[in-house]
Amino acid sequence: MGDATKQERVKHVFIWPAFLLVLLITLFPLIYALVVSFQSIRIVPPLPPRYVGVDNYLEILGSARFWGGMQVTSVIVFASVALQYAFGFAMALTLHHNIAGASLYRVAFLLPMFLAPVCVALIARMLFHPVLGPVNELFSAFGLEHIPFLTTPSLAIATLIVIETWQWTPFVVLLMLAGLQGLPSEVFEAARVDNIPAWRRFRDLTFPMLLPLSVAVIFIRLIEGFKIIDTVFVLTGGGPGTSTETLTLFAYNEGFKKFNIGMTSALSFVFLFVVIIFGTVYLAASQRLMRRYQ
């Protein structure tokens, strides 16, 4: 008995350092933002803070710009994460089965992830330049010259999805590959001996066993994807009008250009709320899915 409690107690040694550090760094920002979100604080021009209750929140919920940003962000995030997962998992499977040149691929596939998003956006601006870019040449070959990729709302969003997919598929590849490598090979050997076809091995063994990891990977991509800002900032600036403005870009403009701190904090909490809702729904759904496979 005494041994068991001693064993139990050691768990605190494991978890407290991480817990304390995260708490220390995130507690103050959270408190600060919460307090300020009920105030009207502008640093520019400097006006004394005023308590305004839930006015900031009401203004956000009533603003067309917020709902527009919400829509743009959701479209980009869901479309690009779906593509990232599909391509990323497929690539991880391919690499896992050690196709010719796999070691070269392994490094090459990772590169996009290590480029700063702002850098990627600058490069994309060259590639998608409507006159001087290679993508224009590609489309010109099909008779579609000078397509305004970045100044038409729907095309700009499609371009952003492509860029997000390009940059973050490596993330999925890397993790799914690590997951595949961690799977016990005995099970697969047995399945192979039993002559179970490959697609069924995938459906009945690989996919279910990697489901928890898949859930985690998609979840992280969703959370991170919701914060998309640099690419949009550099490529379209949110334009034309606000037709490609994402939520974080909206918050950035309010907070860092206009220094409307109260509004930005309220916006952040609304944003947090939205992400948590999405996250909870997503996790609940994936729990059900996992249970079905158990």
Binding site: I43, P45, H146, F233, G241
Partner: protein
Amino acid sequence: MKALLLATALVPLATFAHAECTPDYSGVTLTVSTQNGPFIASALKSAAEKWEKKTCGEVDLVEFPFSELYPKFLTAMSQQTGDFDVIGFIPAWLPDFAPYLSTMPAAMQEGDAWLDIHPVYRERLMSWGGEIKSATMDGDMHMLNYRADLFEFPGNRQDFKAKYGYDLAAPKTWDQYYDIAEFFQASEAVKYGTAEAYRRGGQQFWYFFSHAASYTNNPNTPGAMFFDPETMDAQINNPGWLRALEEYKRGLEFNPPGALNNGSGDVRPLYAGGSVAMNIDWADSGVLGATEGAIKGNVRTAVLPGSSQIWNSKSADWDKFDNPVASPFLAFGGWQLAVPSDSANTEAAWSFVAEVTSPETSGEAIVTANTGVNPYRLSHYENLETWGSIFSANEAESYLGAQRASLDSPNVALDLRLPGFFSYTEVLEIELSKALAGDVEPQEALDAIAAEWNKLTDEFGRDKQLAAYRASMGLPPLNN
């Protein structure tokens, strides 16, 4: 005698370079910050080397992306971190920065070097709230660049006269400007008519302002371009602004395809590379064209086109003038240096500023490639011979002449400088890009901007904003 000694000690001269440490700032390290190089940063770097040699101090130059300079400086200064000793920024931010800046030492506000600065900068752009808070280190305004080889080619001149009925020359009005743009767009001599910036975040609204100045900066109602100087009501949806927006948008026809993506940075190589007959830009296009471009020797610069009709916001009618009135717009207004009051080394910092802006050091910077520094001192316009390293004689004459004429113009139009600048320009950029993309009608866009501007003014305090606006336009305070 004493005054002379003082003056020589304060105005750093190259002859003292050998004397050790005058004034002595050994042990002092200044953190100087501005946008990423080479423009402006490289000028500060070479000035820093001189200053270090002279004073034994040290300079640490830190660069940030242009789009992040404003938040970076503002957060650091408002929290008194003491991170920066000298900051390089733009006049539009001065109203927001002024509370955190130290005032220029009185000794720097006198003497020949002081009087040598063009009055528009010295008296207008460097001051806020009645005090000198910053030092101009670069002069800037929008100008029209054109190509001499195209404009002087007899064939072009003949064809143009035949078609439009007057001589081909630098346009005096925007109507002429569009005639010329149309002419060259159709001609075989060059690919496109003109180049202007249309990209959101690419200095777009300054181009729009340059058009608007000609129709709204009425000499009969001074300072009424952006707001009514008595009530602070937004003027941006009046017929003068509407005409400017319609014309600015019409210009897309004579720009290269994809021009909606072009920022001011893209407009420069288009001109210097010989793809367009004209462009509108700050002084940088001229230098780029004369040094790196395919059009060497043919760079010509003129004052922005004007108009013989200007909207009068008081009488709500167009005023007609016999001759076209030039309303050259001082877009941007050039880079400035200032010393935050939380700096631990204000004295040394101002001495560094004095070095950068001294007639001698700045005189070198304006003729050095890639410094991005353009003339702002009277001596800069006068020393024609120093320009030989960049321009041919004809080029130098038109380049400097246009800048000087813009500044000296009786109806010069000053840029918008107001507390909360970004709040005002954000809605402007959003609506402008909608109108340019054809999503909304121009009038609709302008009405939306005006409504938001009025709302912002009320939010920030109408009286305070009005007082600030009048000061920025050089009008005396209202007495009531």
